[in-house]
Symmetry: C2
Subunit: 432 residues, 2 copies
């Protein structure tokens, strides 16, 4: 864990180390992934069956076994406790409501020259959702990835999920059901991404693939990008907690550890103006670590990537937060909104003492798929916008063309594009 | 040129060929580009000077020579004819006005459970604009790439442009001046992209790089992606013109050729319901080709990639257009808006007989940087949205947390993330 203090001479060098900290080493699997994609393109479903037998520890005998049936979903979800289903329903309803509010309006702009300009939003036809199997099979992630697509109006939402030993997580199936997933396939890895991008006899191709995955899945998404859209490749998670000394050090410690428990590459940073408070939080982190089931992981993250930063005032904290551009930002100050007004770069913010970041992971409403590793400088969280695209349009009358056409002809000729110029000039009143 | 007819048995096979036509072979320059990026990261400005001497045919003696001064811009633009400057001004004003209308509003959403949810748009701090040198140095492209950034509120817009022999295109400088470019550097290729992404002593790093370039520039953008944002890598341009027999075949022919003259990989497709009209347009294409300065290029594009598609009715034309998802769509039908209402996938549409696509390349207002190669299925043209990002936020009161917190705890525990659950549970009224 790094202890920084803006009033000390070594601060800039230490902070630069924090900014440049590479928290992840990506495995080089490009060649293996290219071979898998080529195999799925060449042999379709047959390749999916063979690759699933090889990697997932069960042998589907025919293509139909890959598709999860409605009856299987019913059976799997029947055993889920009612309280847990109610929590899933509350989460789904709140996430759907927030994303519905994101839906943008079309544009129609009358124009002084007599043209009409417009912009129209339309949903993608089909989206693929990758869901990891095993330990990271998170139902909350299914809701966060699928619901924005449903709200956008996407007709087909095809989910792929590896099923180690043929088994699926019932809560993941329940989440898919609630989030409007239209098809579920028991297939994972690069082969699932290849099937979604190129299509097979049993899995129709989609237009965009979203959702987290391991190095193979990430490499496959990069390789099919261009043929289909992809979401950004998520890095390790991070949080910046900005808190003054009036907070309970234990609460702040647990908030930091909620980030650190994701994996050893996660990063949790406290910014405060009180050295004693920073020390109290650090002590509370150690105490909590001892009692957490995932304490080994969280402790490793905290020791390797954690930091406390002591600032002289809250304006300094704003400047440092903007340089960190954190994925998650928790603001535990007396006037959280006022302070947050000075923040230009953050994926998602959680304002006030009663707003731990974990609330946003599950039930608050905004998306939990967020830009990591300082990319909040230029990127945004998943949203309805990721499942819509824009078509701009222009409608011109004879008079409208006459008003602005000559300028187009002049510029086309200056650029040496005579057919461009001619297509306008031939329609002008004075044309030969 | 391919002649297709939906009423003939071979249609589906022919149309599939058209859909899958790879119109571009990308040069493999990844290793060379990786070496250039490493050199710029290691030696900064010194590497920029050396690489510029090697690739651009002039030898800047010191770093200061890379930056284009205000006096140089004044001197270079002084000789531009007033009519051309007026055309540039008209284009800039119309592009700016349309993009200003795109600016989205922030969101603040009160919530039945007593929380407040929000979403805030903020501009990127700094953007890099790559402008190709030589034949493709298009002033219109400078306006289309820089103005959306200025409208979004980006403070720094740094343009890089190679200067073969030290020379720059005056009209490109004039466009940069009008579009709010804040810095111009005489540097190009992968080395310019590396400088924008990683920064040197004389060029500060940016957050996103946009603009077209050759294979080296495209590969460099791919390699720095993640550290900075990039725009999509543009493929060859294409147009679909939908026209009935009441149109002038010559006008349609010139519209098709305006696309074909871009380069040999461009694609122009006519969809019509009248075989005689299709033949008349094809004949007019040949006649126009003979008189066009870029006739050799346009002819090559038309022969290799051009097509006429004969349809039985206009609904069929809609379905085929949606499958083509064209970058540009020109609709020359009696009720262009009505027909366009059925189009789900297109980059930009031009409605009516008085609206040649070239109008949109220069002066209409919407952006001319558009998704190519069927990517309009999931991608959009350049816009203000490319220079903004979103921060979502949640504000919770003690009562709000109490209302939805238990559901978060239940889901966190189901996912095995106990610190997540604890960070909420400790704040609930019944907590120990």
């Amino acid at each position: 864990m790094m202890r920084l203090d803006t009033s000390e001479p070594g601060f800039e060098a230490g902070f630069a180390t924090l900014l440049d900290m590479a928290r992840e080493t990506t495995a080089q699997v490009d060649d293996a992934v290219a071979a898998i994609i080529a195999e799925v393109r060449a042999r379709g479903d047959e390749a999916l069956l063979a690759l699933t037998s090889r990697f997932d520890g069960w042998a589907p005998l025919q293509t139909a076994a890959l598709r999860v049936t409605a009856a299987e979903i019913e059976a799997a979800t029947a055993g889920i406790p009612a309280g847990l289903l109610a929590a899933l329903d509350l989460a789904a309803a709140r996430i759907e409501r927030f994303h519905a509010a994101q839906r943008p309006a079309d544009l129609e702009l009358p124009d002084p020259a007599g043209l009409t300009l417009g912009m129209r939003w339309t949903p993608l036809d089909a989206v693929g959702l990758y869901v990891p199997g095993g330990k990271a099979a998170y139902p909350s992630s299914v809701l966060m990835n699928a619901l924005p697509a449903r709200v956008a109006g996407v007709a087909r939402i095809a989910m792929v999920v590896p099923s180690p030993g043929g088994q699926l997580n019932p809560l993941v199936l329940a989440a898919a059901q609630r989030a409007g997933v239209t098809e579920i396939y028991r297939v994972g890895g690069a082969q699932a991404v290849a099937a979604l991008a190129h299509g097979t006899a049993s899995i129709a191709p989609v237009d965009r693939i979203v959702g987290p995955g391991n190095a193979y899945v990430a490499a496959a998404k990069r390789q099919v990008f261009g043929r289909v859209g992809i979401d950004s490749i998520a890095g390790p998670s991070e949080v910046v907690v900005v808190a003054d000394a009036s907070n309970d050090p234990r609460l702040v410690a647990v908030d930091l550890l909620a980030q650190a428990e994701h994996d050893e590459s996660a990063q949790a940073i406290l910014i405060t103006d009180d050295a004693g408070f920073a020390a109290a939080v650090a002590a509370a982190v150690e105490a909590e670590l001892a009692t957490l089931p995932r304490g080994a992981i969280a402790g490793e993250s905290w020791r390797r990537h954690g930091a406390t930063i002591l600032v002289r005032d809250w304006a300094e904290a704003q400047a440092l937060t903007n340089r960190l551009a954190p994925e998650h930002l928790q603001v535990m100050l007396p006037d959280p909104r006022g302070w947050f007004a000075g923040i230009r770069h953050a994926g998602a913010a959680f304002l006030g003492r009663w707003c731990p970041e974990a609330l946003g992971d599950y039930v608050a409403g905004p998306n939990h798929v967020l830009p990591t590793g300082r990319t909040a400088r230029f990127a945004s969280g998943l949203s309805v916008f990721d499942f819509l695209k824009r078509t701009t349009w222009v409608e011109a009358s004879e008079a409208g063309l006459a008003a602005i056409g000559p300028a187009a002809v002049a510029l086309a000729e200056a650029e040496g594009l005579q057919a461009h110029g001619r297509s306008v000039a031939l329609r002008l009143p004075a044309a030969p």
